[in-house]
Symmetry: C2
Subunit: 224 residues, 2 copies
């Protein structure tokens, strides 16, 4: 009960801390940070910071350049388009494969709960709660797909656009239509209708993606 969050190694701790700082914005997109600064900030030596930086670089969150330290990668609309394209494909695949697994009603409880939570958040209305439930839905969907590589990649892509999503969330009208999509996907999965599950989720993703990109353009958010 005390703590399952035992960041055994300093490298892991550094990676986790840096990720968190990037997501909440205390390391701004486009900003540069020397290894030594970060090491001092995190209260450790350069070594684990360096290792964490390498990890984050492979994960597409920062770049490490010889004298300028690590730069937090900004996310331009073009990046969003790329990431959303990948997410659309892989989540649609996950939906299809989830449908093929013939999950019991019980196994789909989490998915259903997420949808209900979104409904509740819409009437509240509570944007943050909606976003959280939406994320839970997508995460669970991908998990049900059962392809671990898809899960990893989707996680990576979501991390890359996390900041942008948080900003656009505020600008957005309540996505009341979204939950019809979600329910359709759930139903298709429950019925084992793989084709429909894939098609529905793809449509859902494409719609959401376009809406988001439209938002970015309308608000002239060049990068986040």
């Amino acid at each position: 009960m005390t703590g399952l969050d035992t960041p055994t190694t300093q490298t892991q701790a550094a990676a986790e801390a840096l990720r968190e700082m990037i997501f909440e914005g205390s390391l701004a997109p486009g900003s540069d940070h020397l290894e030594s600064e970060l090491a001092a900030l995190l209260g450790m030596s350069r070594t684990p910071v360096r290792e964490a930086a390498l990890i984050l670089q492979v994960q597409g969150l920062v770049t490490v350049r010889p004298r300028r330290g690590l730069r937090v990668l900004p996310v331009a609309p073009e990046d969003m388009r790329e990431v959303y394209a990948v997410l659309t494909e892989l989540e649609a695949l996950a939906a299809e494969q989830a449908a093929q697994q013939a999950y019991s009603t019980d196994a789909l409880a989490t998915l259903r709960a997420a949808i209900d939570a979104m409904d509740a958040a819409l009437v509240a209305p509570d944007l943050a709660a909606w976003a959280q439930a939406d994320a839970a839905f997508h995460r669970e969907l991908v998990r049900l797909g059962g392809n671990q590589r898809v899960q990893q990649i989707v996680d990576m892509m979501n991390d890359q656009v996390r900041r942008a999503k948080m900003v656009t969330l505020q600008l957005r009208t309540l996505p009341t239509a979204s939950n019809e999509d979600h329910r359709a996907v759930l139903e298709a999965i429950a019925k084992g209708d793989a084709k429909t599950a894939r098609a529905c989720h793809r449509q859902h993703r494409e719609r959401a993606g376009e809406e988001l990109l439209g938002l970015l353009q309308r608000h002239k958010l060049a990068q986040l």
Copy 2:
């Protein structure tokens, strides 16, 4: 002229060397290797080896465990299935997007050349040449799609199954049918027919994937 292969940093050199050793098999799948051994082998200190190991771990080629050094990840049929599913989705996406770019005939020359090379390799017959041309075709297709994240992910996935592919290549009958698929994809891209390009390539991938998995099962290759 002397060398454009200037592996500026030791970490990069180590990563490259380890990758190569994994691919050609001198680091066998499932085998463990201590950091110190590898450092001695590569003639450098543990530091760059450690950093390289971290990179390869994120890329899904090895796992690093506290006292057992880094383990070269074996690829089981289930892994192949996962990777092929991802490749099918993302390459199909690339084909679709390539078709939407309205490339000129010139721009598609590389793709055409790869197909011709495969034809030539089939009549030779020259399995190695065919495999190389096939890889070139797929790589160029993904490049034409224009999504850098897709390119990165596809590269990662290909790396993960590289060894397995080399083994199965030897077991396989000459894929004479494959090139019809390739030509169909090329034509669809040239005509700007995105839907067809996607569908053709998906079908091509699914067929190839099933064939490969069948091979693995028939030969009872549990892991590679």
